[in-house]
Subunit: 287 residues, 2 copies
């Protein structure tokens, strides 16, 4: 039974997890830890943590959930494992998995740790961005499940189940490779689209007046937090560079078809990609 | 007074215009013309046109609205002007303006024509995609307004006003240059993102399971119609190639920063682009 949960990092992800647990399992006590004192105050006054805590107190926890940037996770996770009891489950929710798993592969308390990536979020960050139901129907990727104590796996699954998440098991390497395509590349494509348009349209009235909902949707991820995304790109460097190579190659080919007036190929490129409709429909149907 | 409107092309845009007019000005008779007989049937059974018509009948129109792909518009617009009465207003709603305006610059009935671009739409097409209120609060770019008879300008503005559109005046060249950045480039970036991911993830379960709402939003425009977009890219070739050059350049620089482990610059690139928040907020506030 989980009675006390310590959440390290009370931002969008940590806060949203806390809100779900508070709603669905109100008998659980939730303690918040954050190096940003103002965020911690905010989390308490928003009511999704019961009490502020410090790192040393995690020895009292049934469960610790780390939801901070992935570079900080690599630093902090071994220290948290040092501190917790033999019966504590420690999870983190980072968008990369290889370096995080590697950081604790030989830790004596490796069996207390479960690597997860709940695939949900918005372009906003901080405690105010936290929202109830963010994870409902979403996928949670669990890595190296076999390295976690069976009893603690069960404790984790019980929480994910009340949150309504679908579980998929994957190796850290496969996770990082695939997520580079379906998440990391989208962010870079969006950031660079925003940059290209801002650079050109120094007179902002022009963007302002002519941008429709298509631009708004494509550029949405360019609002994301650089504090969170810089360490993700750093940790997943090789995979992200590979996706960028392929994306730039495809854009360059598209441009060359235009330069040589080969609009039959331009048509084909788009027609073949329209197939994304069925894929996205599949996503929506199962969620 | 406008009593009869002929809409050529009863798809997403033509159909949505018809729906607004039917609702806001039910005394106007709306006739539909489409080379696709099935679409015309559909438009009639959906009830947003009162009657099917043929091209020759436009001589009876107070207003003709052409909402078909831009290559077809360049072909058809002079013929429509040949057919209409001296008192008919002819408008089109294409996403490019230079070649369309050029196609009728010396037409004896040039003063009967008004070039417009209502900036609204979805990634869907055809009569079923038509929706009421699509244009409410959206921008309509009008080009070369001074070349249209004053009385007919007024007739157009009366319709746009009941639809709730904001009007901006621009030259066809400025329109095509700016719209390449805020609309055409977004579509290519989205199509090529979709292509890159589909090519890699041949086993679709991987996309299916790991794709979150970020990917969905960034790739949304890749569902758009190639029949509509190929002629747009063809007509706006020079401007679109310029935006692609800059976009590819920015992506390549981002990749080079990653390759040289310059993550301070990666951070800066994203931080500077976050500024898009304020720009997009501006858009939402005024709409």
């Amino acid at each position: 039974m989980t009675k006390t949960i310590y959440i390290i990092g009370v931002g969008l992800i940590g806060g949203s997890i806390a809100k779900d647990i508070k709603k669905l399992n109100p008998e659980i006590s939730i303690y918040g830890i954050d190096k940003n004192a103002a965020h911690l105050e905010e989390a308490e006054s928003l009511g999704f943590i019961d009490k502020k805590a410090t790192l040393e107190e995690v020895k009292e926890a049934d469960m610790v959930i780390i939801a901070i940037p992935v570079d900080a996770t690599v630093q902090l996770l071994p220290k948290v494992l040092d501190l917790v009891s033999d019966d504590t489950l420690v999870m983190e929710s980072g968008s990369t998995k290889s370096q995080i798993c590697k950081a604790v592969e030989s830790h004596p308390k490796r069996r207390n740790f479960l690597a997860t990536h709940p695939i949900a979020g918005t372009e906003f960050s901080g405690p105010k961005a936290a929202m109830e139901g963010l994870f409902k129907g979403k996928t949670n990727i669990i890595c190296e499940v076999e390295k976690t104590a069976f009893k603690l796996q069960e404790r984790a699954l019980a929480i994910f189940q009340i949150m309504g998440m679908r579980i998929r098991y994957m190796s850290p390497e496969a996770h990082d490779k695939h997520i580079a395509y379906v998440s990391h590349l989208s962010h870079i494509s969006s950031f660079m689209l925003g940059k290209t348009v801002i650079e050109k349209e120094k007179n902002e009235r022009d963007i302002f007046d002519m941008a429709g909902s298509g631009f708004e949707s494509t550029v949405r991820l360019a609002k994301s937090s650089p504090e969170m995304w810089t360490p993700i790109f750093k940790q997943n460097k090789e995979n992200v560079i590979e996706t960028l190579d392929e994306y730039i190659h495809n854009l360059t080919k598209f441009k060359e078809f235009m330069e040589s007036d080969d609009f039959d190929e331009i048509y084909n490129e788009m027609k073949n990609t329209n197939h994304i409709k069925e894929i996205l429909k599949g996503i929506s149907l199962t969620r």
